[in-house]
């Protein structure tokens, strides 16, 4: 069977070969082929050679790493530069090269993921580099596709334009971030997860509620956000309090469901153990059932870290003071400043990912004993 890496290399080589014969695009009405552009031609030929080297097993180790790091990225950069020259009328050959350099970059990522770094810091570094590379490619492809196909910027601006806007609007972005993330999201998240956790315990503690409240809990907590948001604005005012309330409602249900499921996961023998000590409810909760519920609870905390962002932002559609990420997004869409919308989305994504990452680190520290971490 062919390895994943060789499959990638083969596909990249085939695409480069295709690019040799397919048209690239038009410059001033004249059709252009790969042979008319020494730079691109050189790139395609080197890539074919490298792919052959990889498949035949001759290109390995550090040489392969460096080549597969430099080659596709330099190529992509050059392809990007050619974008303007080609009159925006790009044809199949061009896209073949784009695909090929993407696959080549993937080979690099695959090689990197296969490494088992010795030191912890190196391991961390790889853990960052791989997803960042993936992101870089996402942006590259986005840039090339949007510009190559001439998508109107009011529909989807290219990342470069978003970046410029981002850099120019840091003050606004920071103010919005404070309003939405630091106030509404964090407070709502803490209260939502906290109250759901306590409810789960209450439900668990009182069998009557377990049978009575859980079905109702499902009902209330699944209230659609857009129905709830205006009501919250009505009840808690225009400022962040009403957004935090929406976040509470959004995060409540996942936490409740997961905690209840987690509390019931401990095995019969583990529970019997506690019974033999005549452990009280709270003792067996704290010493047995909560620790074994942790994997589930962290699941909810992670899912909620992203839901909370969404909740707070959307809630701002239904009335806010004129600051906040959701406010900005909805306003700037209406003003056709879609680049600003995406700059705001980038902030949301960065903040949300960081938030999730923090939860992940805490999870690792708390549930190191769970097989999902022990097994690698």
């Amino acid at each position: 069977m062919m390895t994943f890496r060789n499959t990638l290399a083969l596909m990249a080589a085939v695409l480069c070969l295709l690019a040799l014969v397919l048209p690239m695009g038009n410059v001033a009405g004249i059709s252009l082929s790969l042979w008319d552009d020494t730079g691109l031609l050189f790139f395609a030929l080197v890539l074919i050679a490298a792919a052959t080297g990889i498949i035949s097993g001759k290109l390995t180790g550090r040489a392969a790493d460096i080549l597969m790091l430099v080659l596709p990225h330099a190529g992509a950069w050059y392809l990007l530069a050619r974008l303007d020259i080609a009159d925006q009328d790009l044809q199949s050959g061009y896209w073949c090269l784009v695909m090929a350099s993407w696959l080549a970059a993937w080979i690099f990522v695959d090689q990197l993921s296969a490494k088992k770094p010795k030191t912890l810091s190196l391991q961390r570094l790889y853990g960052v580099v791989v997803p960042v590379l993936f992101g870089v490619w996402l942006l590259l492809l986005w840039e090339i596709l949007v510009r190559g196909f001439g998508v109107p910027t009011v529909l989807l601006p290219p990342p470069s334009m978003i970046g410029v806007r981002f850099a120019a609007s840091t003050a606004i972005l920071w103010a919005d971030f404070q309003q939405t993330f630091l106030k509404a999201v964090l407070i709502g998240y803490a209260l939502g997860c906290g109250s759901a956790f306590l409810t789960a315990i209450l439900i668990d503690r009182v069998p009557f509620l377990q049978r009575g409240l859980l079905p109702i809990g499902n009902l209330v907590s699944a209230l659609p956000i857009i129905g709830v948001a205006p009501i919250m604005v009505m009840w808690f005012g225009f400022d962040w309090q009403s957004k935090a309330a929406v976040v509470i409602i959004m995060t409540f249900f996942p936490m409740l469901v997961n905690t209840v499921a987690g509390l019931s996961i401990s095995s019969q023998m583990e529970k019997d153990m506690m019974k033999t000590y005549a452990a009280g409810y709270w003792q067996s909760l704290i010493k047995l059932r909560l620790p074994s519920a942790l994997p589930f609870i962290f699941n909810a905390l992670k899912i909620n870290s992203t839901l909370a962002m969404i909740g707070a932002i959307v809630a701002e559609f239904f009335g806010t003071p004129i600051v906040g990420m959701g406010f900005r997004i909805s306003t700037e869409v209406g003003r056709m400043n879609v680049d600003m919308v995406w700059a705001e989305i980038a902030v949301a994504a960065l903040a949300g990912t960081a938030f999730y990452g923090v939860m992940n680190v805490i999870e690792r520290a708390c549930t190191f004993w769970h097989p999902s971490f022990r097994n690698g």
């Binding site: 109107p152 559609f317 306003t331 869409v333 209406g334 056709m336």
Partner: protein, 306 residues
């Protein structure tokens, strides 16, 4: 028949009665058109829809259309069925507001999403900052309804003569407890519901012909609506997919809308246009548009109508 996709600015209501009437009464069919009316909503930006190819012609307010034009969506006004602006600011009397000078230190509800331009122009004309403080006004992004006024979270809210104002009344607040500021009367009126298309399309005579048929049939619809307001309201009601509108409200809205369309044969009056542009350019530190627009309107379509 040629198909025309029309993107409205807002949900199905009497504000768009002319188009629904024209469709319902067969005016479009008569000129060999198959018009597909797409209702809007709170988050639909018609310029975006037309840029994405989702519509051939859109209903939009001129400030938003001109701003979009600057952002690279080359919108051109081909017809202007609304002569007068229906926008106003409605305040509770008990707040002590009697004139624009009293706004300072107050909280005002404003619609954003491209509808804030007239308000911003007005404030800049009054020289009132919009970022709070004792000398400025606090601005709230107002939601879909007039709750902020009823709940006393805002001192004034934006209303349309034909819609939100009556919601305040319906909620039990008598007219004599309200103070209203019509943009028309404040001299900051901007043109509302006009028909816009993409500039490039106007180079195609077939498209211009199609639009000419569309505009003429639509204007017939508006005329019919002015003559038969109650039936027109019922036609709108029939087309409402949500089933949430009430007859009482739509009939009343039809009456108010007819006041705004009165005096327009569809042809944009360049003077109105100049007035709107002047208001927008006077936007102070954060002007809505930065320079005099070029070619933002065309009589090519209306001129073709015999």
């Amino acid at each position: 028949a040629d198909t025309v996709n029309l993107q409205l600015k807002w949900v199905t209501q009497a504000q768009f009665a002319g188009y629904y009437v024209a469709a319902d009464k067969g005016f479009y069919e008569a000129v060999d058109l198959d018009v597909n009316i797409k209702p809007g909503g709170p988050d639909i930006a018609p310029p975006q829809v037309i840029a994405g190819g989702g519509a051939d012609v859109i209903v939009d307010w001129m400030p938003s259309a001109l701003a979009s034009r600057e952002k690279g969506v080359p919108l051109v006004n081909i017809a202007q069925p609304f002569k007068t602006s229906g926008m106003m600011l409605t305040c509770r009397k008990e707040t002590g507001i009697t004139g624009p000078a009293d706004f300072k230190g107050k909280t005002l509800g404003v619609w954003f999403f491209g509808n804030e331009y007239p308000f911003l122009s007005w404030m800049s004309k009054l020289d009132i900052p919009t970022n709070g403080g004792a000398d400025g006004v606090s601005v709230l992004k107002q939601g879909f309804n007039v709750d902020p006024l009823l709940q006393k979270q805002a001192d004034c809210v934006s209303t349309m003569t034909y819609n939100e104002y009556w919601q305040v009344i319906d909620a039990g607040v008598p007219e004599d407890e309200l103070v209203v500021f019509k943009y028309e009367e404040q001299g900051v009126a901007t043109l509302e519901d006009g028909l816009y298309v993409l500039e490039d399309n106007l180079k195609d005579p077939a498209f211009v012909d199609k639009m000419a048929r569309f505009v003429s049939a639509s204007m017939k619809g508006w005329e019919w609506a002015r003559e038969n307001p109650e039936e027109a309201a019922l036609i709108v009601l029939e087309n409402d997919g949500t089933g949430a509108q009430t007859e009482k409200h739509q009939v009343r809205m039809m009456g108010e809308i007819n006041k705004l369309t009165a005096g327009s044969d569809g042809k944009l009056d360049p003077a109105d246009y100049e007035r709107t542009v002047a208001t927008l350019l006077g936007g102070g530190s954060d002007p809505v548009i930065t320079k005099q627009p070029e070619g933002a309107w065309s009589h090519a379509v209306v001129d073709m109508i015999k």
